[in-house]
């Protein structure tokens, strides 16, 4: 009995020890630098825009980057292109339906195929992308830079910064975004370029 309890306690202690090293990074950037660029190249029209309403959090352990997990949330109404009519269409029910589905979410569950040291890591991020009520498992290339102690240099607050970059392509038809329609003007393939930083102040 005592042996079992000791084993359980040891396992729990090991679990907590590994959790203790993971740093929680908040993706909300007070300076508004975080952005996702989206590009659609259809035969008749090329569309490019940005999304800046990025929130969420990522838990990163420099000693065990494969355990990186978190959630990236993008406010649909923060997607912007320079033509206001196009924005109106994009937010409408046929396309992203911002009224009923105000967020695009990527739930990061783990990293694999990692290379690099604890400061700069490249690999494949696995997780679930949810757009307009449709969720799909995806794996995308990612690079992560852990900038230890650099928050003081940027925001005069002691802490760390995590920079996440990823370029990948999704199909709007996979997520029921006006699937099969208007592909001559709005490409099915959407190229996404993520440049996101997370912040972990030491006092939090």
């Amino acid at each position: 009995m005592n042996k079992t309890i000791t084993t359980l306690l040891a396992t729990a202690a090991l679990g907590f020890a590994s959790l203790a090293h993971a740093i929680d990074f908040d993706l909300k950037d007070p300076k508004g630098v975080n952005n996702i660029v989206f590009l659609l190249d259809a035969p008749l029209e090329s569309i490019n825009g940005t999304a800046t309403g990025i929130t969420g959090n990522v838990s990163f352990d420099p000693a065990a980057p494969e355990k990186t997990a978190g959630k990236v949330v993008v406010a649909v109404d923060s997607l912007s292109v320079a033509n206001p009519k196009m924005v109106e269409h994009m937010m409408g029910g046929k396309w992203l339906d911002a009224g009923n589905h105000p967020e695009i979410v990527f739930e990061l569950s783990r990293l694999s195929d990692l290379s690099g040291d604890g400061k700069k890591v490249k690999g494949t991020a696995h997780g679930t992308m949810s757009i307009k009520g449709t969720s799909k498992e995806i794996s995308v290339p990612v690079s992560i830079s852990y900038l230890e102690g650099m928050l003081a240099k940027r925001q005069r607050t002691p802490g760390d910064i995590l920079v996440i970059r990823s370029n990948f392509t999704i199909s709007r038809s996979d997520f029921g975004v006006n699937a099969g329609e208007s592909e001559d003007k709005v490409a099915d393939e959407v190229e996404l370029r993520l440049s996101i930083a997370g912040f972990a102040p030491q006092d939090s």
């Binding site: 975080n34 940005t50 320079a82 033509n83 009519k85 900038l147 920079v163």
Partner: protein, 85 residues
């Protein structure tokens, strides 16, 4: 006399449409209400964008200029034929 004025207006409309389209960047797309200026955060090494408000005419402005040119030219020709007859 009136026909000459209308034909001159036709050429003016074409020229105006063309110049406005050039001012908007001579793009194949429709009008835009802002343009983006790139910035670079040196600590994060992230490129980000500032949206600067500006009305930039698109291809529809050139199209309107061409349409106005044809309409006014046709009108000018009709007036000239009537006055000759």
């Amino acid at each position: 006399m009136k026909a000459i004025v209308i034909r001159t207006a036709a050429t003016g409309a074409l020229l105006l449409g063309f110049l406005l389209w050039m001012y908007g960047g001579a793009r194949a797309g429709f009008y835009q209400t802002f343009y983006r200026v790139r910035h670079f955060d040196e600590i994060l090494e992230i490129e980000h964008f500032e949206e600067v408000e500006a009305l930039l005419p698109g291809i529809e402005t050139l199209g309107a200029g061409v349409a106005a040119f044809f309409f006014l030219s046709l009108w000018g020709n009709l007036l000239e034929r009537r006055s000759a007859a």
